[in-house]
């Protein structure tokens, strides 16, 4: 596969994964914010995660749900808005139209046209907010489904998954880190499940949590689910396992001399989760742990880009 094509496939999927993440978080927070006395997250922390706004700008926006949603979803001036990300995903898809299926291209293209409908922007400030978020969400899920059922398995597919799971792993780490920051990283003190709801819903894991974890040690359980649970598709462990599989396939027959270094870098990162005792997680220095994990992910990204996308 051409390195340029691989690069575009990686980023197309990575942007689409980020879109889903923003939509899930925005939807969750919007619904939760309609209730009074909700603890666990604020628009401020969401803007800090998903935008490059300065503190002063965030303060100006706080309290204006409609405007915040517009900025997160449909603002052209926000490089990380859903509209901008879909536009970038489409730009990448456009450059690889002959390498993705017609069905996938048409859905990405159609999603792009939907995000460009001006009337949806106005709807975000009124009672139809959820309709718009759901419309976007439906398109993003259809993209994922179409890609799953129509794309040929092989190098391209593995590269796409690489993008998807790198993004997903990073999002889970960032969201969890931010949530723990809200608790000042104090997880030895037991928290109510309602305080974790926002994080779990944002990762599509609330129902799974209720079904899988029966004790009231919510701090321990939630951290287990989002970091170590290999059956939970948004856990760090699940993403790293998927990355492991993709990388193992991609390096077959590749004689690039930097491959051993890539394997070592990934192995060290994977081991930090794989061989960590989950029972001690709440007693660790979580701030440092998350920072190290995020840094390692960035290094991994740089190294794999250098090998697969250097053109």
């Amino acid at each position: 596969m051409l390195s340029r094509i691989a690069d575009s496939m990686f980023w197309m999927n990575r942007y689409m994964e980020r879109v889903r993440s923003i939509l899930r978080v925005a939807r969750t927070h919007y619904i939760i914010s309609l209730d009074r006395d909700v603890k666990g997250a604020s628009w401020k922390s969401i803007l800090e995660i998903f935008t490059l706004l300065e503190e002063k700008e965030i303060k100006e926006l706080e309290g204006q749900t409609g405007k915040i949603l517009q900025y997160l979803l449909t603002a052209s001036e926000n490089e990380n808005s859903v509209k901008s990300l879909v536009s970038k995903a489409r730009e990448n898809a456009r450059g690889i139209q002959d390498n993705i299926t017609k069905e996938l291209w048409e859905e990405v293209n159609s999603f792009y046209h939907v995000t460009n409908q001006p009337h949806l922007n106005h709807k975000l400030t009124g009672p139809d907010t959820l309709d718009v978020i759901d419309l976007f969400m439906r398109h993003s899920i259809i993209c994922s489904g179409i890609s799953d059922i129509t794309m040929q398995r092989g190098t391209g597919w593995d590269i796409m998954k690489l993008g998807k799971y790198m993004e997903r792993c990073m999002e889970t780490l960032i969201l969890t880190d931010k949530h723990c920051e809200f608790f000042q990283y104090e997880l030895e003190k037991e928290r109510d499940i309602t305080q974790w709801r926002f994080l779990l819903l944002s990762l599509s894991g609330y129902e799974a949590y209720l079904k899988s974890y029966r004790t009231f040690k919510h701090n321990q359980n939630v951290m287990h689910q989002v970091l170590f649970n290999e059956d939970f598709p948004h856990s760090v462990s699940y993403s790293l396992n998927m990355l492991d599989k993709c990388l193992s396939k991609l390096i077959v027959g590749n004689k690039n001399p930097e491959i051993p270094d890539l394997i070592r870098t990934f192995g060290k990162l994977h081991a930090k989760i794989k061989y960590l005792d989950p029972s001690i997680i709440c007693h660790m220095d979580l701030q440092t742990f998350f920072m190290e994990m995020r840094t390692d992910m960035k290094i991994l990204h740089a190294k794999q880009s250098n090998i697969f996308f250097s053109y």
Partner: protein
């Protein structure tokens, strides 16, 4: 309103060949379409028009217009009523185009080798010497099977006498074939019954034919040739077509930055290292192909590509240097080429053309400018064109000065009233002028003309300019074998 009434109000222009009506009645080939349309109403046709637009938009067959830094997607206008040509007319066109391409190929072989045609005085040597598209770097290069024009899109028009004439030869990187194919797919969606009942020849095997030719051009020593399409990139107006063809043929679509030349061989840069390329179907103009040989600042091409081509390590489609054969001034000599190389009379006539480098011709053209269209030989797409019938005095005096400065760069042709066909515009069925661009493929086993082509239509009332860059649209073109 019923379409029947609209069809009754359809009034063909005087002194123009209307392809649906002769002076008294509907032509036989339009009978099926006419009777289908009669059963519909305006709302029905408007819905079909809207659906066609949506189909183009959803597939991304669009171009982007920028306004206040916001990109707005637009589709190329498509008229839903098909244009119909009979099988007999088509068969004659096929023979004529095949003959013309054979001669043009022999001309290109000759002009980049022995130049016998110049030595024999059939074409003036100074005409070639002054042609900006004569590529000295291509002199002496042997190309596989001596084929230069693998893909051509020769423009034809039909005059008031109903005869087809050659308007120009596009022998470099003709575009529009994806529209021919997509227009047919859209027609299948909006008029499925009418299409299946009308005994229309199929266009769908164009990518298969093209792929076969590309495979044949690779060296016989290569068992699995690696073919790529070279595109200037996503901002090129024909980018959709490049991806469409790559997808239809199952070949890689590459940009210049994906390729590298090492030891006179061309390679793509892949995730697993370098992979040798054997055939390049390029959609990049000659001057951008290789910064070492042509424009030094080109980032669209590949440094060293021409050296690999010269050594026969890669085949390039179409060949480098074809521009000399579709130069608008050289065009006038194509009938002479046919006589010279093939010893045959041309089956299809040229439009009468005056070379303005000839002082007598220039004087005649200036005296009759109101009936003439003057074209710049170095421009295409309707740019640099002077329409004598509509130009103002002031504009003409300015244009005249330009022409007198460098007459070699201009030719003139009498304004021909292009034939008209029915179009559905603003809720009415109205006649509009059209041309025709059939796509011919020329491989080691001969010429193959896909029965259809792209009909370009001047959507403005009375306009004769069909170019998409000048507000033209397109139509599906049906070749019908009447029973």
């Amino acid at each position: 309103m019923a379409i029947e009434q609209l069809l009754k109000n359809y009034i063909p222009n005087e002194n123009t060949w209307d392809e649906m009506y002769d002076s008294k009645s509907i032509r036989r080939q339009y009978g099926g379409v006419f009777s289908t349309l009669e059963k519909l109403d305006v709302e029905n046709l408007s819905n079909k028009h809207r659906l066609a637009g949506e189909l183009f938009m959803n597939q991304g067959i669009t171009f982007t217009v920028y306004n206040n830094n916001e990109g707005i997607e637009r589709i190329f206008p498509f008229d839903i009523i098909p244009r119909i040509i009979t099988g007999e007319e088509w068969d004659n066109l096929e023979k004529g185009i095949g003959q013309r391409l054979k001669a043009l190929n022999m001309f290109l072989r000759d002009i980049y080798h022995e130049q016998q045609i110049l030595n024999d005085g059939v074409i003036p040597a100074e005409l070639i010497a002054s042609c900006p598209d004569y590529t000295r770097e291509a002199f002496g290069i042997n190309v596989p099977y001596d084929i230069y024009v693998h893909i051509s899109g020769i423009d034809l028009i039909r005059g008031a006498d109903g005869k087809f004439y050659i308007l120009e030869d596009n022998l470099r990187t003709p575009s529009g074939v994806s529209y021919m194919l997509e227009n047919r797919e859209v027609t299948k969606r909006i008029f499925p019954d009418m299409l299946s009942r009308s005994n229309v020849r199929s266009v769908s095997n164009y990518p298969v034919l093209l792929h076969e030719i590309l495979l044949e051009l690779a060296s016989a020593q290569v068992s699995k040739p690696y073919i790529v399409i070279l595109t200037p990139g996503i901002y090129n107006s024909a980018y959709y077509e490049h991806t469409f063809l790559a997808r239809q043929m199952g070949v890689d679509l590459v940009e210049g930055r994906d390729l590298v030349v090492d030891n006179h061989k061309v390679y793509t840069k892949t995730t697993n290292g370098l992979k040798q390329v054997h055939v390049i179907y390029r959609r990049v103009d000659d001057s951008f192909l290789d910064p070492l040989a042509f424009k030094q600042d080109s980032v669209l091409g590949v440094p060293g590509l021409l050296s690999a081509y010269r050594r026969g390590n890669v085949a390039i489609v179409n060949a480098v240097g074809n521009g000399v054969a579709d130069d608008k001034a050289v065009y006038t000599y194509v009938p002479d080429m046919i006589r010279y190389y093939l010893n045959e009379e041309p089956i299809l006539d040229n439009v009468p053309t005056y070379q303005l480098s000839d002082p007598d011709a220039m004087q005649y053209v200036f005296e009759n400018v109101r009936n003439m269209v003057i074209k710049n030989t170095n421009q295409s797409g309707g740019y640099g064109m002077v329409m004598g019938s509509t130009i103002s005095e002031e504009e003409w005096s300015k244009a005249r000065k330009e022409i007198e400065k460098s007459p070699r760069n201009y030719i003139a042709q009498p304004i021909i009233q292009l034939s008209t066909v029915p179009c559905f515009i603003d809720g009415k069925i109205q006649p509009r002028h059209v041309d025709l661009r059939p796509y011919a493929l020329y491989g080691p086993s001969g010429t193959k003309l896909v029965p259809g082509g792209l009909t370009r239509v001047a959507l403005k009332e009375g306009s004769l300019v069909v170019n998409s860059s000048q507000g033209g649209g397109s139509k599906d073109t049906w070749i019908i074998d009447t029973l």
